[in-house]
Symmetry: C4
């Protein structure tokens, strides 16, 4: 490790035969690692022979390097004086002059925060956060469905007091709003997921840690308050040993109270904004012959072509999970309660309710519209459960996420049976707009709006909200109306026991 | 009071330790008053040491100063020669050159009047009048719901005559259209609420006086015609003595025939346009640490941060009103009939109908969309009452407001059971566009349109309008369709007797 | 009449005390006529002392002058040399250079024809033709309702032949499309209503002559083919003698086969575009005190203020028509069959069906959206009749108009039970775009489109069209669904016999 | 044929009396052919005396010339040196500089491909491909209907594998997506229909060959893989001998497995974009007197006026087809299975199901919205069949086309009962954007999207898709709800046997 390299020498190792990169001033030989990089070889080769720190840092939590490279891969350090000076391109200069964000206090709603964040972040970060599947119809519908539900305010009710506290899985929380497991927070702001944790702490809000967080779980929960609550999201890896190792780490972190198993994205959705951002910059991909169906038949998402951040993060995810294999496997490796995320039909909600007590809750979610376009918004699934199998609410906690932008949205979801409401992009936009203060502002706005809404409805406590406070008739006329087959599901489940 | 101050001396008293202001040429020490100003200390401090008359005048009725300051607070007068000359900024010069409004006769509909008014008034006034809660969806829906109702004109009916006269609470009126209690009229035009009263007089129209009027009730009714009818709107104050004092004043004004108790805004809605207008101008608020949920938990709207006109007007309002406490309290302090304003569910309409004979009427209203966004328009509540408890129409007069912009809107509301229809913003826009003549033009347009509509329907008198003249099927498919629980309400009411 | 006046002398008679005008080179004293001008005194006074020919000509059919002025009102002729030369203003010059319309054959649909016409005609003509009541919602809905109906094409049907011929009231016609009684054709093109008649002749199409045509009925039918069919529209005048005189003239014209009694506009609608066009030009109306409700209570539309063409045409119309007075009166003055125009509810359609055999047909119409805004489109009424009282179709011919722009619209109306479909504005736009050729092009387009549609549906003859060829479900969900009270109507009708 | 002409001499034969044209360097006398040209005489006369190769080539397959002209019509060759040099107009120069398309790999969805294609092709080609009937409402609705259907993803299903293979009419295929019979491929790219065939080969996709292909069937299938499947579309000609001759050629091509009989366009729709493109260029058509209804009564589309490509292609098509005449006639001339294309009602689907075994399948189609505007999208007909006569699915294969732009659209159609889904314009846009690679990219995108969708639904094989995977409630509320008359159809069918 004592060896000091000249940048020019490193620069010569820029092929798949000999591929070196500089990271944090150190020189690594990653030739052997090329084929096993979850994000594909291509993206490494693009940076081969160069200092890759700026690209690498915001999307890799510490420790990843050490976990994946043999010790001898570290060849030495680079002589920083030999590195090419970063030329200030006119674009970069302009970038410099970019105004900072306005005071967070001036931002009145979540749309304004997104607007400010859009101006603050890189195109790559924007594309990753903003993107959704295909034509972004589910993303749009997630928000619009709330607007088609009307509220039913009662009058002459003392609304002096309003209390947002609630309990989730038996834990006391300051509000029924939590931060969903959104990946790559450092892409938007260096405070990263730990910054979101800091903001949550101020509000007693729960945070779900993404499997693809840009910081380690240990970092994120490091400054947790004694009563602060976290969940940890798992994407089970095809290489199960990796998942087992992660679970072992999670089991040791007392702030993490449960595991969230994501089910709505077993394969990656097609997020075109994200993919387009990955296309930027010369030279364009060669106009080669295209892959045919047969070559792609194996089911592994092909990241060798590049693709967006989303596609790269997906590499390694196991698409073969099932009720009967995965839940028992998970029970072997953790005693934490399980929350199933991404249920989109009443049938699956019902099935989950048969899997207690291991499964303690479900999150109705279409992955923020990022997986399957024209998948139903969580409110549809919530209304489906109310219609076909309301007993699910007695057996499981039902949480929802997707499209929440106003306190009235929070109240509507709670009134229809949700116990908690997650926000994904809004937390990232808040972080991107103003760091920790931006996330706080996001939570404060939602908290204030939720309380104002509850007061104007004549409701003091979260547990008093019920369907009598909303008119969801327009949505009720749109939800699934076919046969449910619950009886068959029940029988099949019993038969397998 | 004989002392004459130099402006420079006054200017030195610009802190919370010693805070002087100049109003109408007089110098006041308002240091002690800072903490009890309903609109918050901040807005006074911004003007401390200066002549605050221009800011103060249009939003405070006469007498407020005297009521709230001890006599010794009046220190003397200012030497007007020492006041800084108002520099004519280019913007101000441009303002000067602003064309006056066109002749009111040229304005053909209420939208055109709003357009003209928008150009005439200050940004602050525009923001206060125009604003509505959150995304202004209820405001928009208020108008759109009328457009989705079709009329059913009958032919071969003699429509030579058309008579808009009606009776409300037993009083004869020239038209079933009244002016809702809209605050801060002088912000738009110096004629203020008394100007609205003058216009109403010409048309035999009823006016409801806002609790936050920019003139005193005595001023507003001063020139009332012998048969002119007013109602007075009360926001009950947490300091009940203030409300009792106001009621005592109202009881002495024979032109005021009833009290309107506003229930749809126990806490202020979030009117972002209004708040944004309050943000204008340097310096921006310091980027301080934000309040967390806990600090805001007491339920008092926090006006110390500034906020818009709407938020300031709200200060002091009692959010703890209930059927069982407030109505008896009100009966102790006035014998006037009570109208409950802001009902938005058939349940509350039914409850109100049990509280006769004190309660003589209800106003279905979502506060012009200014309180809770996605609250239902009055037409929804009207249809809910028709569906669940039509007997309410026999026990109470049912009035509606919100979104009325055309005579056809008036006719639709009346046909569905409303006895009268209120206009809020249109009266203010009329005043702002052309003073008294502007309000007259507003009422004339609505009157003409309403009569044209009735004639084309084949209807001569207001009391002949009924549901057979409208096709509200599209709206009927959207209103609440859940259980009503009226029986439980009835039992609970009886039990408490 | 021998006297020749100097223009300067005429110019001095420009007050209500002495009011002269020049028309077609003759000088008239119209002082006595001022108060009885159906269009109001104001519009004459504006032209007093001047040559009014250009304004007068396109909206008055020949003979009107002689009918309304005493012989001694004709004072003599004007010396044309003394008339002021028309100065060519830059605007006029530009007008001159205006390109003529493209060849009519190039225009592919009715929207393109309207577009071309819009560029060809004066603002006044455009405003009169284009305008509709209030917010033009019924006008828009008239067209949109057709777009929400789907067709149901049958395949494997021999569609070699397609025949648009039909019979209306027993008369053979070339197509089931007729020209509605649209007024003021010469405003758009000098060919006027006679030009429309010429175009109709080529297609065997029926024409209804407007009561306010800019040519006399005699002129319009002068060149009629032996088998050409006309109807004459009557607006009954308050001065019944005028209507009786007109009916006497009509009775003498064999080409006119029936009388159309318009019922959907007993008082004028509020057509703001038209009124705005009437406002153009200096000086603006004085900013006087506005009329209050009481002054307008008599029910006579007040045209003294000016107003648009539509309002002026309305003057003198009797708003007091009823089933029991007007129909017998009409029977006294003509033996022609009666068609009632402007029915908008199934109730009135049913009532009409009780008034045979005098009443032979009804036209479902909301007056092109020009009378009452948010009145239902004819298709609504057609579907109401199908739902509540289909027997009406056996007793009366049911025609419809309003919003038809495509052959598919024609087919949809016929399939749902209409025997004929009227076009109003399209005929005027055609005339304005290209005179007689423009109207022919309009009829040709509709004819071609209608035949193409029928062929693609697998339908050869008009009488084979039926509801099985359309899917009107979306509209069916929007039409009136309340009680009908037909039984009460029947009883009341019988009682009055 | 030895004679060599001077271009100047050819140029003199430019009238209907003597009409010569140059094609591929040869000189033809086409005077006698003028009256029998299916595309009308006018378009030939426009090119008479000139080199017509550039106009002729992309829309006529080889052999057409020889089939239609007598041998003596070939007069000789032209001296190429005497031909006028093509002047490079500035527009042409600009055209030259037009950038080529981006690498196909960069195009992420079908809309982007259309966008690129729009820039690559001539206005004429764009207009022909893009155009649809009238207001293009059916075209728009074809796409929108898919967006109003939601998906119902099931979770915890192993989605490692996903297999798009299927069988159609017993033939094994790589995907359930086929290329519809879209005409005039060489107008967009010289690779033409054979290029589409090449792309299909890579994906195992089926191709239907248009009756109006710009290449011969023999050329198109020339390079077919052993297991590659084609269908051939027939528009039966009024001159049946021509159709019989074509069928004889088809019968000899083993790659063609079935005949598709198009029924949804017995007469041409009105495609205004296409017609407008045909209008371009001086001189404009003379402003002659227009044809009246009577002159057009014979039912033959009149192409003498010019019109678009679509109208010209239509010439000669027999509009008199019927169930009882045409199917037996077809059986006489081919033993291939018959697919009926263009069914748009459940009635006709039911009728088709009675015509087995000759009729083996039906294609629900509104001809891409190009025939009858406001005809229902295929999804409507699919849902109608499900509702009224689901037994049809057991008797026939049901394919659909129109509006498919995403893999989710494909999955929705399959889930609702379609066995295969056709794409028309997308294949042409792909070809126009990038030739064979462009079509491959189109198929690859659809294949990838379809597989991603199936995986995210938890479905491995095409035959597992069913209605439980979609929520089509919004569409179900819009489809036909009237009587079906299936019993009458059955009886009538039996009676004719």
């Amino acid at each position: 490790m004592g060896k000091v390299f000249d940048a020019a020498e490193v620069a010569q190792h820029n092929t798949s035969e000999s591929c070196w990169v500089i990271l944090y001033g150190k020189v690594y030989d990653v030739t052997d690692f090329l084929s096993s990089h979850p994000g594909g070889a291509k993206i490494i080769l693009k940076l081969s022979g160069k200092d890759a720190t700026e690209e690498y840092d915001p999307i890799h939590p510490p420790g990843v390097l050490e976990e994946n490279l043999r010790p001898e891969a570290l060849l030495g350090t680079v002589d920083e004086n030999t590195l090419p000076k970063v030329e200030e391109t006119p674009a970069a200069a302009e970038e410099e002059q970019k105004e900072g964000p306005p005071p967070m206090e001036w931002l009145l709603n979540l749309d304004e925060i997104e607007e400010v964040a859009t101006k603050q972040v890189s195109r790559k970060a924007w594309a990753y956060y903003y993107s959704a599947a295909d034509d972004k119809q589910s993303k749009r519908f997630n928000t619009e469905v709330y607007r088609s539900i009307l509220l039913r305010p009662r009058v002459f009710v003392d609304c002096t007091k309003c209390d947002l506290t609630t309990t989730l899985l038996g834990h006391q929380l300051g509000m029924p709003i939590y931060v969903s497991p959104a990946a790559m927070a450092r892409l938007g702001n260096p405070a990263g997921e730990a910054g979101i944790a800091e903001a949550c702490r101020s509000f007693g809000a729960m945070q779900l840690i993404s499997n693809s967080a840009s910081m380690t779980p240990e970092q994120i929960v490091a400054d947790a308050a004694p009563d602060q609550i976290f969940g940890w999201q798992i994407y089970v890896q095809s290489d199960r040993a990796k998942s087992v190792a992660m679970l072992a780490r999670i089991n040791k972190l007392p702030a993490i109270k449960f595991v969230v198993l994501t089910l709505d994205a077993p394969v990656p959705g097609k997020r075109e904004d994200d993919e387009r951002a990955g296309q930027v910059g010369p030279p364009p991909p060669p106009r080669g012959s295209l892959k045919t169906t047969d070559e792609l038949k194996d089911g592994t998402p092909d990241v060798s072509k590049g693709g967006g951040v989303g596609l790269q993060l997906f590499a390694g995810t196991d698409p073969s999970l099932t009720w009967h294999e995965t839940l028992p496997w998970l029970a072997q490796h953790t005693n934490l309660p399980i929350i199933l995320k991404g249920l989109q039909t009443h049938e699956d909600a019902y099935l989950a309710s048969l899997h207690g007590p291991q499964v303690k809750g479900i999150i109705l979610s279409n992955h923020g519209g990022r997986a399957l376009d024209t998948a139903p918004p969580a409110i549809h699934t919530l209304l489906e459960i109310r219609k076909y199998c309301p007993q699910v609410f007695d057996k499981l906690e039902v949480w929802v996420d997707g499209g929440v932008r106003r306190g009235t949205d929070v109240v509507k979801a709670l009134a229809l049976g949700a116990r908690a409401v997650g926000i994904g992009r809004p937390a990232l936009w808040g972080l991107a707009a103003g760091g920790v203060e931006g996330v706080k502002r996001t939570l404060q706005i939602l908290s204030d709006e939720t309380k104002t809404c509850m007061r104007l409805l004549g409701v003091e406590r979260v547990d008093q909200l019920g369907p009598q406070y909303v008119n969801a008739r327009v949505v009720e006329q749109q939800i699934y109306d076919g046969p449910s087959g619950l009886e068959d599901l029940r029988k099949a489940f019993k038969a397998k026991l």
